[in-house]
Symmetry: C2
Subunit: 393 residues, 2 copies
């Protein structure tokens, strides 16, 4: 087993992300998510909803299916299609998504051991189908590939050094130091493969131990209708302007569980710190389970108590603004470095550091996970500043 993936799995268990549960053949049966993994999974799912359902070019209508896919796209979609066709005035284009609890029948047991972690037997499938106009379906297929690739790239863990953080020459040094971390080119499209039933493109993620399919996109055209009965053809018949046509189908499939695993692997990094490697998960701030945490270093127990109270006040303020914040009771007890190390492993982008001076001048340090540098912020501005930082991609 590659030592990197071993380290990732150990970190996952230590920080309560995911724990692969194996069967008697040593294949990954499913992922058990801990609290950090649940928060991450929820964020991945919401980003998928945003990208594929809410911010889509067509109207996209989400459905949920209790049954596993039959792999017959016509049968699987006929019921939701009828609903949506009526609402959409039988006009193309539109989209339908389905969330499914799927079971993989066969796992290739000859697969390299570390690759098996990406294919749990039981997992949640997020499937989306675009029903396009025959005339521009091919164009939509290419555009869709680009859009999906961008979705993956947008959420990957490239280190973003904001110019406010550092003076120029430090910035250059940092960029050089950090350039070995997660690359934006990790996610790429394969060439189109011509299969009997569809044209197929995959989005792959490159890892040191090999490449991993994260999304499969198929362009079926109107082929699925060729072997289906007249009854189905009537259901799926729609209008393209005034012509009656059968829609051309573009299907896209990701596994929610695999995606969570991929984003953890993507985020994992081991930069050197004081000559020894430190483990960090550089989650994109939209995906990070927690966005902010608090630490304090104080000269006395009384000051420590006051700093804990201030941390609690600021935490409530951030949480009230919907910002996921971790406040642990060790704030003023454990060493700063051990708190930073844990926050880095949990992938928390910012740690707010309070000290004796904070009580006098109201200034806190905002330590960045990615640069390990501290920026000074006044407590009155913290909420607004955090909201601004977390708003954009």
């Amino acid at each position: 087993m590659s030592s990197t993936i071993q380290k990732i799995l150990q970190l996952c268990e230590r920080q309560c992300f995911i724990q692969p549960v194996k069967d008697s053949l040593d294949l990954v049966e499913y992922f058990k998510f801990g609290f950090a993994g649940e928060l991450l999974k929820n964020n991945v799912h919401q980003e998928w909803m945003l990208g594929v359902v809410i911010n889509a070019d067509e109207n996209v209508f989400p459905f949920h299916s209790c049954k596993s896919a039959s792999r017959d796209i016509i049968k699987d979609f006929s019921e939701p299609f009828e609903y949506v066709k009526k609402l959409n005035n039988a006009q193309l284009p539109f989209g339908i998504t389905e969330t499914r609890q799927d079971v993989r029948d066969t796992i290739d047991s000859s697969l390299q051991e570390e690759m098996r972690y990406f294919y749990p037997k039981k997992h949640t499938t997020l499937l989306s189908c675009i029903f396009a106009k025959p005339g521009n379906a091919m164009q939509r297929f290419y555009q869709w590939q680009r859009q999906r690739k961008m979705w993956w790239r947008k959420l990957n863990s490239i280190v973003r050094i904001r110019s406010e953080h550092v003076i120029p020459y430090i910035k250059i040094i940092l960029l050089l130091l950090l350039q070995f971390s997660a690359s934006p080119g990790r996610f790429s499209l394969t060439d189109i493969q011509n299969m009997p039933e569809a044209q197929l493109v995959e989005i792959k993620a490159e890892f040191p131990w090999g490449s991993q399919t994260v999304e499969t996109i198929r362009y079926f055209g109107a082929k699925p209708f060729e072997n289906s009965g007249d009854e189905h053809k009537t259901i799926f018949e729609v209008k393209d302007g005034r012509k009656k046509v059968l829609p051309h189908i573009i299907e896209s499939v990701i596994s929610l569980d695999t995606s969570v695993m991929v984003f953890v692997c993507d985020a994992f990094d081991e930069p050197l710190f004081l000559d020894s490697p430190r483990q960090v998960t550089r989650f994109h701030r939209k995906l990070a389970p927690y966005k902010v945490s608090f630490s304090a270093s104080s000269s006395s127990a009384t000051v420590g108590e006051e700093l804990s109270e201030l941390s609690l006040f600021l935490t409530k303020q951030l949480r009230n603004a919907g910002i996921s914040t971790l406040l642990l009771p060790d704030v003023a007890r454990k060493s700063l470095e051990s708190q930073f190390a844990r926050n880095d492993e949990l992938g928390i982008p910012y740690t707010i550091v309070l000290n004796d001076a904070t009580l006098r001048n109201g200034i806190v340090g905002m330590r960045s996970r990615d640069t390990t540098l501290k920026e000074q912020v006044h407590v009155y501005e913290l909420k607004t500043y955090m909201e601004k930082l977390l708003k954009n991609y």
Copy 2:
């Protein structure tokens, strides 16, 4: 069957919210969600996450369980508890939530028919446990009741007439006209019942056909540990300051499926419009499946075409800002009134109305679902204005 609930179920099916699936005994087996229901369910779930996990007074750690609850709180929570105890430095208080696919063993078949819709056999349970300090657990129990009641009240469908919408005297008339709609007092707490194993409080929703339990809150104290083995006591033993204690447990349970049904019933209204009743679902804007829709009335096909293109442009802008927007191809074809009627049934808070003049002066009408009044907004300001409107509760 009460005629109101019959109307609600017909609307649910017509607009693709939920469809109760019944078993051979005519009891609701589960809810099948359509696209509008899926969006609503996702919004209810996210609001629960915000209220119970992210914006909680304690650190709350979300978990997921594949198995149904054993109703033995100690057994169910011992594994997540061990993780969280370690992270939280064995200090109280903290919280743990679990999402479960539950099956109700017994449904009271003597239940009034309309009440059965609130108790599907298979449903998703959202469970949260606060592990409180023995010294202030009782106080936390009362505080928790208030917080949960406020969560329900905050999201209910009371008509909010914003002062910008209307001149004062119209506002007063509207308030009088609309006061028969959903009341903020729909959700209330029952008295505390003393059960052998816990003190129990329910949050109930009042409907014309009776009252419905929407959340059950139990204060167990440390009772669950009395009958559990020493092994469990060791797992659950934590520190309150320097003392070793067993936590006091406050548990809160809602059904996600029931909640969606409750919010649909809460939102349903039949105000008179031109002397005939029109059906509206007055969802809180945070819950509404779609926040905005577009309609156009044009004098000619050419203008209609241009207005459709402008609608598409504005839709993309709103979607890009993460605002769920419905744009149907009937924009310039069906009558405005029939589009408004559909949007009101889908619970869309705002419909943007474009007309011939819009192409000249850039002004659109923003029709409110709740007041049916139109406000004028310039297309350049639409996105910012919508973001502001949708931000707050």
